[in-house]
Symmetry: C2
Subunit: 395 residues, 2 copies
């Protein structure tokens, strides 16, 4: 078959069957795309449900003519088509073949096969751009806390040279993309619609920025609408192309949690979730995943994430150390109490410290408890002592 015939047939098949179609993908592996297309259109012995799926779309036009038109339209938009074997093709999407969803107990049909082709807009080569990438995803109706966490994570990952992948939605996705852009880093949006009409329209300016310095990617051809079920199908790609997926905030059983389930099911991908306050409905999905999705790792920021996906010395997260807490981050009373310890002996009672600082006894006791908890001081029988800097107080 000619290379062009292969490309056109893959476009046509994706248009006829929607991405991820199990039988369609298996047939392409066995027969190649052109013969698969011919069989579905002409061979009465071909799998009947697959033929029926395709037939429903045929009234809208001839598949190969449609494919030609889509390719031409993409060219006008500055978008390109890539298929397996192209230098840009991210081979890791092939791992979707071996996805294991037993632990998520989900019904699976059309969302676990690799894509037949991808539409791409933007100045970077896709495969190389995804080589060091992390997906940062979550709720559209994110809280301020969630958006702040997504921004911090997106900014820090991009600043360390990692590509931030997300879905372009309002809330967590948008916060992660925008932070990566602010960091001057690379971000890639995987869409559930055509790369010519990224959804939602409210993020248009952001999408234009991403198309200018990063990449917009979709399995659906130019003009395709963001139908609801397409988001779930798209999610498997986000899980497959990255080294790990972080859910920042998600309600119970949300799409982001489904993406996490895909990441967990693909060998070599790390499923991660950011904790939040118990009682926040937007952290329920994260906490549920951390409890019930085996292997999901709790992460509190980019350092933790890179410890999970990087396994590179430079990226190792520092273990939190109470006694290394910066004094500058203390409240004013606590800082004054620390300074009030006598320089030589380093010991004092609460009464002495209260008298010395003029802080009332009750507040003094509370602050001393805080300072003890943080490892700045120790207490024994009502006497407090400074802990020398850079030594562990509680081992």
């Amino acid at each position: 078959m000619s290379a062009r015939a292969d490309r056109l047939a893959r476009i046509a098949l994706t248009w006829l069957l929607e991405p991820g179609h199990l039988i369609g993908w298996e047939m392409v592996q066995a027969f190649g795309a052109p013969e698969t297309l011919w069989r579905i259109l002409n061979d009465p012995a071909c799998h009947s449900a697959t033929r029926n799926t395709a037939a429903a779309r045929l009234s809208a036009g001839d598949p190969l003519q449609t494919a030609e038109q889509l390719l031409a339209r993409a060219g006008e938009l500055g978008a390109r088509l890539i298929i397996p074997g192209d230098a840009e093709w991210p081979d890791q999407v092939g791992d979707l073949r071996t996805i294991d969803l037993r632990s998520t107990r989900e019904r699976v049909d059309r969302d676990t096969r690799p894509p037949l082709c991808l539409w791409v807009r933007g100045p970077l080569p896709l495969a190389a751009t995804l080589a060091r990438s992390v997906a940062v995803v979550g709720a559209r109706a994110a809280t301020e806390y969630g958006q702040r966490m997504a921004s911090e994570i997106g900014f820090d990952l991009a600043g360390k040279g990692w590509t931030v992948v997300s879905g372009g939605a309002f809330g967590i996705d948008g916060a992660a993309h925008r932070a990566a852009l602010r960091a001057g880093g690379i971000t890639v949006a995987f869409l559930a619609c055509g790369v010519d009409r990224p959804y939602p329209a409210g993020n248009t300016a952001m999408f234009e920025q991403i198309a200018g310095s990063g990449l917009l990617v979709s399995e659906w051809p130019p003009g395709a609408e963001p139908l609801r079920h397409r988001f779930l199908v798209r999610n498997r790609l986000i899980a497959a192309v990255t080294r790990g997926t972080v859910v920042v905030e998600a309600a119970a059983r949300s799409g982001a949690v489904q993406t996490l389930g895909r990441a967990q099911g693909i060998p070599g991908r790390v499923a991660m979730a950011v904790p939040g306050p118990v009682g926040s409905v937007m952290s329920v999905g994260c906490h549920d995943a951390l409890r019930n999705l085996p292997g999901t790792r709790l992460v509190t920021g980019a350092a933790d994430i890179l410890e999970e996906v990087g396994a590179i010395g430079d990226d190792l997260a520092p273990r939190p150390r109470g006694h290394d807490q910066d004094r500058d981050s203390l409240d004013e009373d606590s800082a004054r109490l620390l300074e009030a310890f006598p320089a030589g002996r380093r010991e004092a009672t609460a009464d002495q410290l209260s008298a010395h600082t003029g802080i009332d006894p009750r507040t003094t006791l509370r602050r001393l408890a805080l300072l003890t908890e943080l490892g700045f001081i120790t207490s024994q029988e009502g006497t407090y002592a400074l802990v020398p800097r850079r030594r562990s107080p509680r081992r």
Copy 2:
């Protein structure tokens, strides 16, 4: 040996060597308490460091005379001594012999051997009281969030007939004890000082309540002071006597995290931690444990905790289900939008809903996103549809 001689020797040995002393405990297993006491006091061939430890205390009085006095004093206070073999003795403390602390990489000396005896104040039999018990521990300088979580957990566990064990401190410990008392349930405080002078004095009223309806327990005799290192030694008991330990809030490397490490190291005990907002210094210890202490389970409330420790049908936590979210918990705009869906068709556009409710279009879109995220409605190409109650919207 007589039973009384055994009791007195155990008191004397604990007074001489402090609880958890490795050689002391091993000798008692080999020779019994009276002979162990004799050897330490009189046998030059006995382990020299152990003899030296004891010698430092001998200037304060004769060990057996001191033991007699302590027993008499306990009797006056309404406290009692229990030792292995007594009906009240919690045999599970013996599991401390097999504690495995490899994953915590801690230096271990005197805090991993079982107690030789326990002093108890309160109306309940200790072993039976601890049969269904959970430890709820954490920072003294807890945040409001932490205290609320500790209260909820303590109240719910006690309300379901579980004994709430903690350490009697300010902050998380006190919140858990008090909530258990409010629930009319049972709570037990393990102290690092005598049961006659529970520390801190600021919790005296609470301790009296606990002594009236629950139990105060200590390895240290009446009159013993709450020296700093004793808290860490005490912590192993809290981990050993309960089915699981929950850390609600803790700074990095705090005493509560050490307790969690003990629970994780004892076969059959569950280590649990409550997540919180990233950025709260009082959740760092919890998040660190969830990342780095193998097997630590994330819990968001009593239902999760009982799922971990209970393995009893009644105690299984409900899986969070977005669509079961109570409508009453929604904000006013969201509730109005839900009610604005036309009764028959169950579908509407954002414009229609905005016009119908008078809620501005921007707020309408945000609330519709929230309602979609929560599973009340679905959206497809700008049309929203009610999800029938009690069916899963996103599978």
